[in-house]
């Protein structure tokens, strides 16, 4: 986890003279999942697009070591291509047909959709489509995976299954992951670190490190404590009754790297 695959240094960005991101600094190592959480419209998606290289930052720098792929909030599968066709987009650079077929088969096995290669996205359930997007994003030599509220359109049960599936797949194919979500539960269940952003212009309010093993239990004391802390930083009402005192040295460590006071 020591090799930093994604390094963001003092990035600020404006749209039409309005500051959207204010001196964001972030490092993500290979195999690490970092969740970005913040109020709606605070600039999370803008930050993700900067990380993807879709556009460059106004100030500061973004270093990506390796190739970056994105999983979108909307359905990003191309509906006129089959499951195999969509995943193969990520294998475009593989020129040898046999190698490409072998990698495709491996990815289908990874997401457990071996029998679905010839189906079109509209023939799949929401969860299956998400798994195909995940396989496409992990195809080839992907080192950084950016996820923009990937499960927000799914129902509760499918979302829960997809979280489990993501954890399983990332354990087999570790990459640096930045997950934008508005779902605090999702953030503490999936992330190794949760970065809480302020309202626009977004700046980092705090970072929480979560060391609990997967699969995690959202009712466990450490996770409830983390959720309470996030809600507190977002100045949202909360009614968590965390019985046991929070053990910061155990499941949550290095809680609250408070953002420096901005002039």
């Amino acid at each position: 986890m020591n090799i930093k695959t994604l390094v963001v240094r003092d990035v600020s960005h404006s749209f039409g003279g309005a500051l959207v991101l204010d001196r964001i600094t972030l490092e993500v190592a290979s195999g690490e999942v970092v969740a970005l959480i913040g109020p709606s419209g605070c600039g999370k998606t803008t930050l993700l697009r900067l990380l993807s290289g879709f556009y460059g930052p106004g100030l500061g720098s973004v270093e990506r070591h390796g190739s970056t792929r994105m999983i979108y909030q909307q359905d990003g599968l191309l509906p006129w291509l089959t499951v195999a066709g969509n995943i193969s987009l990520g294998l475009r650079h593989v020129t040898d047909a046999a190698t490409r077929a072998e990698q495709l088969a491996r990815l289908l096995k990874l997401i457990r959709l071996q029998g679905f290669a010839r189906l079109y996205p509209h023939q799949l359930s929401g969860g299956m489509r998400q798994r195909v997007e995940l396989a496409r994003a992990l195809a080839g030599d992907t080192n950084v995976l950016l996820m923009d509220e990937p499960f927000s359109s799914l129902d509760y049960q499918t979302r829960a299954r997809m979280r489990h599936e993501l954890t399983r797949v990332l354990a087999l194919r570790p990459v640096a992951v930045v997950l934008v979500t508005h779902d605090i539960e999702e953030a503490v269940l999936l992330a190794d670190r949760v970065v809480v952003l302020s309202e626009r212009p977004a700046r980092i309010l705090c970072e929480l490190r979560l060391d609990a093993e997967h699969p995690r239990d959202v009712t466990s004391t450490p996770l409830r404590a983390a959720m309470k802390s996030i809600l507190k930083h977002l100045a949202l009402p909360h009614d968590f009754d965390v019985d046991a005192p929070m053990d910061e040295g155990d499941a949550i460590s290095g809680v609250e790297r408070e953002a420096e006071a901005r002039p």
Binding site: S52, R69, Y72, Q74, L78, P79, W80, R92, Y120, H122
Partner: protein, 259 residues
């Protein structure tokens, strides 16, 4: 609540045949009751006899072939030229700013307004009819293609950018497949328009064809043959629309009709 099952082909065929027979029955009844003079309201029987007569002489087949050729020529030309222009309008704001007002202007003109010019420029025969069909279908197809491009979800272009699609590859592998369902719907609508304009154009600027046959029958007060022409035009229109609807069943475009 019991869910509605998709209608099978057999059931659809039986239903449409029953409706057709009911319409012919109503027609026979109205003809029998002589609500209108017999000379102004031909019976189904006289039309059937007229149809047989037209088939035997070979005139109907000649007219049908002439009309189909004109529709094919004018409509194909419109499709081939309108889709690239619609793509350019959809992708290039400069082209859109320059040409969209003109496209809207010509789209608003009835194609029949061009008939005098069509005759003056191309005389009588195939060319003026082909020209009128082109003018009737070109502009709506340009606008339909433009609208289809504008409706392509931005996420497809983000995916395309991420996976390195540029230039011609972006056009052929992203934009065209993404707009195809909407374009096919527009093809069906404008295909019907082409067939509508054909009749009016042939009546005035043709020397043969189904539209001319209708006009000729009217001049000869043979309303049975006039209705023959109407029946053939209607049936041919249904068949052409069915052929175009087959495009929507292609595997790469079915997604657009699965909502």
């Amino acid at each position: 609540m019991k869910s509605e099952q998709p209608t099978s082909y057999t059931k659809a065929f039986l239903l449409s045949t029953a409706c057709g027979l009911a319409a012919v029955g109503l027609w026979s009844l109205l003809s029998f009751l002589e609500l209108f003079p017999r000379s102004a309201f031909p019976s189904p029987r006289s039309v059937a006899v007229g149809l047989g007569e037209e088939f035997r002489t070979g005139r109907l087949a000649d007219d049908l072939v002439a009309s189909l050729f004109r529709v094919a020529a004018g409509y194909t030309l419109a499709v081939v030229l309108s889709i690239p222009l619609g793509l350019a309008l959809g992708h290039r704001p400069g082209v859109r700013a320059a040409l969209l007002p003109a496209v809207n202007f010509f789209r608003s003109l009835s194609p029949l307004a061009w008939i005098p010019f069509a005759i003056l420029w191309f005389g009588i025969g195939d060319l003026p009819v082909v020209f009128l069909i082109f003018m009737a279908t070109f502009f709506p197809l340009v606008l339909a293609t433009l609208a289809a491009v504008a409706n392509v979800p931005a996420v497809y272009f983000q995916v395309a950018h991420e996976y390195g699609f540029r230039g011609v590859e972006l056009l052929t592998r992203i934009t065209l497949p993404a707009i195809m369902p909407q374009v096919i719907t527009a093809l069906r609508v404008t295909g019907g328009m082409a067939w509508l304009v054909l009749v009016a154009a042939e009546m005035i600027a043709g020397r043969d064809g189904l539209g001319f046959a209708i006009w000729d029958a009217r001049n000869g007060l043979r309303l049975d043959l006039l209705v023959c022409g109407m029946v053939v035009i209607g049936l041919t229109g249904v068949i052409l629309d069915w052929l175009l609807s087959l495009l929507a069943k292609l595997p790469g475009v079915r997604w657009g009709y699965e909502h």
